[in-house]
Amino acid sequence: MKKILLLFLFLMGQGAWAQTTAPTKREVIGRDIGQLKGIKISGRIIDEISGEALVGATVTVPELEITKITDNNGAFELILDRAEYNIQFRYVGYETIDYPITAVGDGRISIRMLQEDFQLDDVVIFGRDPEKNIRSTDMGAITLSMNTMRELPPFLGEVDIVRSLATLPGVSQVGEASSGLNVRGGGVDQNLIQFAGAPIYNPSHMFGLFTAFNADVVNDVTLYKAVVPAKFGGRSSAILDILPKAGSVAKWGGDLMLSNYSGKLSVNGPLIKDKVSILGGFRISYINWFLNSLSNPTVKNSQANFYDGNLVISAPISENNEFTYSYYTSYDDFAFASDTTISWKNTAHSLQWKSRLTAKLSLEALGYYSGYDYGIFNQSGINDFDINSSIQDLGGKLFLGYNFSETNKVVFGGEYKQVAIQPGELIPTGPGEEILPQKVQDEAGREAGVHFQHEFELGEKFGFSYGLRYDTYQYLGPRVVRQYEENKPVSDGSAIGETNYGDGEVIQTYDGLGPRASFRYSFSKSSSIKLGYNKMYQFIHLISNTATIAPTDVWKLSDNFLEPQIADQYSLGFYNNFKGNIFETSIEVYYKDLQNVVEYKDGATLIMQNHLETELIPAEGQAYGVELYVKKNLGRLTGWVSYTYSRSLRRVITPFEEENINDGEWYASNFDKPHDLTLIGNYKVSTNTSISATFAYSTGRPVTFPEAKFDYSGNSLAYFDSRNQQRIPDFHRLDLAVNFKFKGEGRFFDGDWTFSVLNVYGRKNPFSIFFDDAQDSPPQALRLAILGVPLPSLSYAIKF
């Protein structure tokens, strides 16, 4: 292990800074009226070919050690003294421009940047701003651009957002083929995943084998894992903010990708030239076709389909006003031997208005609708039924930003949303009356939050950010709520009465103040230390007895029994960049305290359960860890090493001894994996060939081994006593990919071939170890490996 690490570090050192730009003639800017100070130079950066504004490009004035970031319109502004400067313009995936100027008076610069288009031998995987990690007061906010993700070996032929994030320190997944992320010891439901501002409840296809976002329509992804800005709330662990691309207002183009599992196409262009752009994307799997071609009759009758689609209409109606509408949908269905079909679907609409009211005041308003539905359709011929379930969110957000100066900013605003959950309705579909229709009571709730955040710098060395968010939540009728005997465990047997609440009547209210604070001290331009604290509330809970998100999991709102989850997190980090930001390093430590995490009674029934309070037990959680990160941003070889040591623990103490788990002691959560190491490298062999590799290692996750075996009714059974006391074997896997870029004559031949192999040395990493008394064999331990063999995939992508 140590040797591999050293090898990686050695290789990373080999790629040298080889970026050169020819000297350009110095340009004189402004009308010379003898002005000496306060010369205002504004400008705008656009893509040379498409004419799109480049948002988040950096403008650096090395002489003054200042860096500006372009805004939503690609615009920037510099205040300079009369002098000569060598301004640098940088943007991910574009050629850096050195722009020597002599500033003599107020003026404008128009910059057209050209996509690198792989003419350079080097790969740049800078974020939007190479020094952002050092300078910003943000903690634990990681933005991955699509360009960065493309440098990783693809998963089943394509860029996978969730899996790319899981390579970062402090972020993990339960196992192969499981959806969702565990961020710093939190559960998968503790992350708010939002696409264009709308929450998405199930971000996976095929039970987690694929992520349900089409990478070709995503602009970037930001994960907030430590100090979450006050404008985000509603979940207790992390926020995953996914922003779609906007189409080009200049010309039509698109992407097409075909792999051996799925295909996707996206097209974008001007709906009204220079005014309104449109982008549409569609992805579909052909696994179904693959299943049908197999001869096994059960397999032949099985089916698995998925697709997802996106539509983004963007209208930058003026320099200062932009409207964006985004539509997202994903659909899955799966049937085994055509008797039970499971299907699920996400839908999200959002409309955003961004406006610069004055030079200093900006406004962003967003309205969204998000829906998640799933159904189980039983057509086995006996007691046929359909079960339907849905969640609907309707909400709005308003943010106002006021910049006193570049280093003194305030953001404040409010948020409101209504949530309606239909936990389950069973409709008999068979002939005759054999089963009863059943319906679990609908749930309704509303959440409101107001927030304020102030970020400022004191000189070069100190940066502060503090904020406060106040969340309030109401659980609403109509509903029949049970009362239970005091001093007895909540169960069907201890119910003593019922109360009826009318439509819209408030059943329960919770509220809480969530302070956020972070502090930064810079030792130099390239190193800093940061401290942070935040508190978050969560009013919706994933009721899942499995280690991962299943499509049929129930979400439940906080009610008079189930209190909101509360998380307190303290973090400390040290950041250092070397060699002109070629190397980026960080060490972060954190401690997180969780309250009211949901745990389950033994053998709880969760589906079609009208009295979930009888099956749930509140738990406390605790998580802590240290995260190390070394990243090489530039050169022939780029990549990163991330290592995390962390623990995620749970404890259940109730007034009733028989309900305590593990006698009220702390025990490892289902996703507690103390050691977690990821090595990622991308080596540019030549201008059109690159090789990438990912190696991942982690401690096996906890499992419960039986204390004894006993016989009952002809079955040999396991007796389990204490939860999660053993572990499955450690996980390690190597993935490799080779990418060729062909430059052909016609534009359809400019293809990108990627051949990848997952699990190169074919390790059977256990997803689980379980104990079974299978027929014809003694009761024994069995291992389920999801990726048990090397798995090749081939994909072909073109841009047109």
């Binding site: 189980i376 499995t546 075996k709 006993f710 389990f720 256990p766 379980f770 079974d772 063999v789």
Partner: protein
Amino acid sequence: MLRRLVFLLLLLPMACIDPYQVEVPDGQQLLTVEGLIHTGPGPHAITLTRSDTYGSVFEGLVRPVTGATVVVRDNEGKIIFLTEGQEARGSYFTPSGFRAEIGKSYTLQIQTADGKVYTSLPERVESVPEIEDISIKTITVPVEGETTPRSGVQLISEINDPADQNNFYFWRLGPITHVLEARPDLFVDRETRTPAPKDCCFICYRTEVTGNQSLFIAVDDNFNGLSTRIPAAFIEDNSLRFVNKLRADLKQYAISQEAYRFLRLVKQQAEISGSIFDPPPATIRGNMISLDNPDEVVLGYFMAAGESTRRIYIDKSDLTFRQIPGTIPDDCRTVFGAVVDPPFDWNP
């Protein structure tokens, strides 16, 4: 239902399940109780065993607990002594003629040979609806790497569920009897390897006890007060059972809510697949307690239930799929449990 999803992953030719050697903790020797007394004819059995290490292979043998004093006591204080079987060591039987009575509560009391005393919580006997009819359905289960699927017959109990109470159902199969066809004319002498046709016997009747691998239970939450059909048993086609006629006795029990919860946990564990959707292992707690040491874990469950039985004869023509009939090239009486005469009440 979700456990089946794992098959999808297996189809994607990359996933696999295989035996795995793990270090399991040394097993505790816990007293395990399995027993059901009911309103049907006896004798009813209570079986006592001790748990052992959950071995990767054959380690740890579940041993019977012999020489214990086992009594069942009803809520009127009447005590029924059970006697240990001469052959079935560790199994204790109620005296002939004993039947549980509807509305009464029973507790099981045990004193082991080493003097430790155990008792169950009281179990009340509830009345059970009759099985109105039994219908059957042929079930096939594909086997990986084989062209012929496994198959068998599912018995479906038709019941009129009473509307005025919450009913918990449990089904077991009594001994099954089927016609056994053999070909003694094809007999080959083992030593000389020459054909040595026998004259007898072509047709026998074989009675056997089939253990139900899977448990059949139901709760009337979604069919309260309705006439409904519930899968209640499964008889696997072992290529001999369905060559002619088969007779089965389906027994339907009304169990308590706690007993239902216990069996549901047993069923859940027995059907675990290791998939990502499996619930985490649950502690299966029963209704037995130690009177000497309240912290001692006692496994298993003592049930008391109302019983109703219904008989069905299944003809081979009732099946939509059958295994290719097996050939027994010998006198059918050589098969264990087979006799030439049909049972006295054989009445297809």
